[in-house]
């Protein structure tokens, strides 16, 4: 079954290549030159873990977009679940496969990015904790949306991703908002503050366990909500 699931996502996997190229082009850490962006030079291979985590987040959205909603909307689920399998096991396997692929894509991006940019791999392995957590957060988000919404889950997840990539957009949008509205929106959106704290901690050689736990809680809570909803849903 894994082979068929892999075959199903081959075009989506291929679409990660241009996304990775774009992220490579946009990541200043990959373009260090004498006298150019000394801050990025100083951050070293851990500095690029933010870009690697963006790839992991986008990979989860791309690989899982519509993974439940499309089956329901188009009626594919009717034949699938006539066979002895549960929706939880079937979609859980697809989610786990996407997670492993996203993490593999992050590792590949970290290694190839360094090789292309610097001609050598300087490390930055501990920075992989950031994409590992980000993939759980965005994987939880897309899983919840895909179970909850009849369609449009991919676009909504992309919309939720935008503040991660362009935090200034969010700041601009919330600059005029009332404090309660601002707090509610920040609570609903992926935990950008936690991501930032984890990244900062990595640069200083420490693990911010509080931030890690908060981000994981956000992702797993959404995953659990999606899983509960999945078991309660009818399959029209």
């Amino acid at each position: 079954m894994i082979a068929i699931m892999l075959r199903d996502v081959r075009w989506r996997l291929a679409s990660l290549v241009p996304i990775a190229v774009l992220l490579f082009a946009l990541e200043p850490g990959f373009h260090q030159h004498e006298g150019f962006d000394p801050g990025a030079v100083a951050l070293g291979p851990l500095g690029i873990s933010a870009a690697v985590s963006h790839l992991a987040a986008l990979s989860m959205i791309v690989l899982l977009g519509g993974f439940v909603s499309t089956d329901r909307d188009r009626g594919y689920s009717r034949l699938i679940f006539a066979h002895p399998t549960s929706p939880l096991a079937y979609y859980g396997t697809r989610w786990m496969l996407a997670y492993l692929l996203s993490f593999a894509a992050a590792v590949l991006f970290l290694v190839l990015g360094q090789l292309v940019a610097w001609g050598t791999v300087l490390g930055g392995w501990s920075g992989l904790i950031l994409p590992a957590i980000t993939a759980i957060v965005y994987g939880g988000l897309i899983a919840f949306f895909s179970v909850f919404l009849p369609r449009g889950d991919t676009w909504l997840a992309f919309l939720f991703f935008l503040p991660t990539f362009f935090p200034q957009l969010l700041n601009l949008a919330l600059s005029q908002a009332a404090p309660t509205v601002r707090q509610t929106i920040l609570l609903v959106l992926p935990p950008l503050g936690a991501f930032q704290a984890i990244w900062d901690g990595l640069l200083f050689g420490s693990l911010e366990w509080g931030a890690i736990a908060f981000a994981l809680l956000y992702g797993t809570a959404l995953l659990a909500a999606g899983a509960i909803l999945l078991t309660q849903r009818e399959w029209p």
Binding site: M1, I4, R7, D8, R74, G75, Y76, R78, L79, I80, F81, A82, H83, P84, T85, S86, Y90, E234, W235, P236
Partner: protein, 246 residues
């Protein structure tokens, strides 16, 4: 095998009906289908046939009442044992080929070591081997229906649920379908068939007991007994049921 007690299913309809108005697809349905039976379900459009089958598979939950299939709630039964099912509207991922679709269903079916051999045998039984590498998106309605029937034959299921199985099939394959279903049914004494269709002649050929659904209620049996065809019995009974309305 199947036991329904006072099953009601209501839908909250949108669109032309006022918001929030409920439509009863099934209305206090009580029904027993014994193991080994071949039961046909007939009725007018909107009688509740597809809703009943959806409930038997656990895809829909009754608004009230209880349903047991093989002593289990329907979804638990399907998850544990699987159901040989052909839906009214066949939907198979368009990116799959005929062979990969059948192999995917076979793998989901957890049917043992000879998964691929079984899948290929089912392809062959439904005459789909020449189309094995064709994309599902390129199949005609009839071929798609045959693929759905092929996947229903996978594994050693005890319950077969068919919703308009002859839909889209040409006369040759309609005739071919009869021995396929008959063979499936007789291959094991514990197998049960539930068939819903507007094709009354096929229901008459395949089912040993025919139930009439009308406005979500069981309106009696219309099992042909030799003198009258199912069509005659059906039309007569429906006319009686519709009479008070006229």
């Amino acid at each position: 095998m199947i036991e329904l007690r006072g099953v009601t299913k209501s839908y909250r309809r949108q669109g032309l009906l006022p918001a929030g108005k409920q439509v009863r697809a099934l209305d206090g349905l009580t029904l027993e289908i014994e193991t080994g039976a071949a039961v046909g379900i007939v009725g007018l459009n909107g009688a509740g046939k597809s809703t009943l089958l959806g409930i038997l598979l656990g895809y829909l939950r009754p608004s009230s009442g209880t349903v047991l299939v093989g002593g289990l709630p329907p979804r638990s039964y399907a998850q544990r044992h699987g159901v040989a099912y052909v839906p009214e509207r066949v939907a198979i991922p368009r990116r799959w080929t005929v062979r990969s679709a059948l192999r995917a269903y076979a793998m989901l079916g957890d049917i043992g070591d000879d998964t691929w051999e079984q899948a290929d045998a089912c392809l062959d039984r439904l005459g789909l081997t020449p189309l094995a590498d064709r994309s599902v998106a390129a199949l005609s309605k009839g071929n798609l229906q045959r693929l759905a029937i092929a996947q229903a034959l996978l594994g050693d299921r005890r319950l077969m649920v068919l919703d308009e199985p002859t839909d889209g099939l040409d006369p040759v394959w309609i005739a071919e379908l009869r021995p396929i279903i008959a063979d499936w049914l007789t291959a094991h004494p514990g197998r049960t068939l539930v068939l819903a269709s507007h094709n009354l002649s096929e229901v008459e050929r395949l089912a040993t007991r025919v139930l009439l659904l009308h406005n979500g209620r069981l309106a009696g049996e219309v099992t042909p007994s030799g003198r009258n065809s199912l069509e005659e019995l059906f039309l007569e009974r429906v006319a009686q049921l519709e009479e008070p309305r006229a």
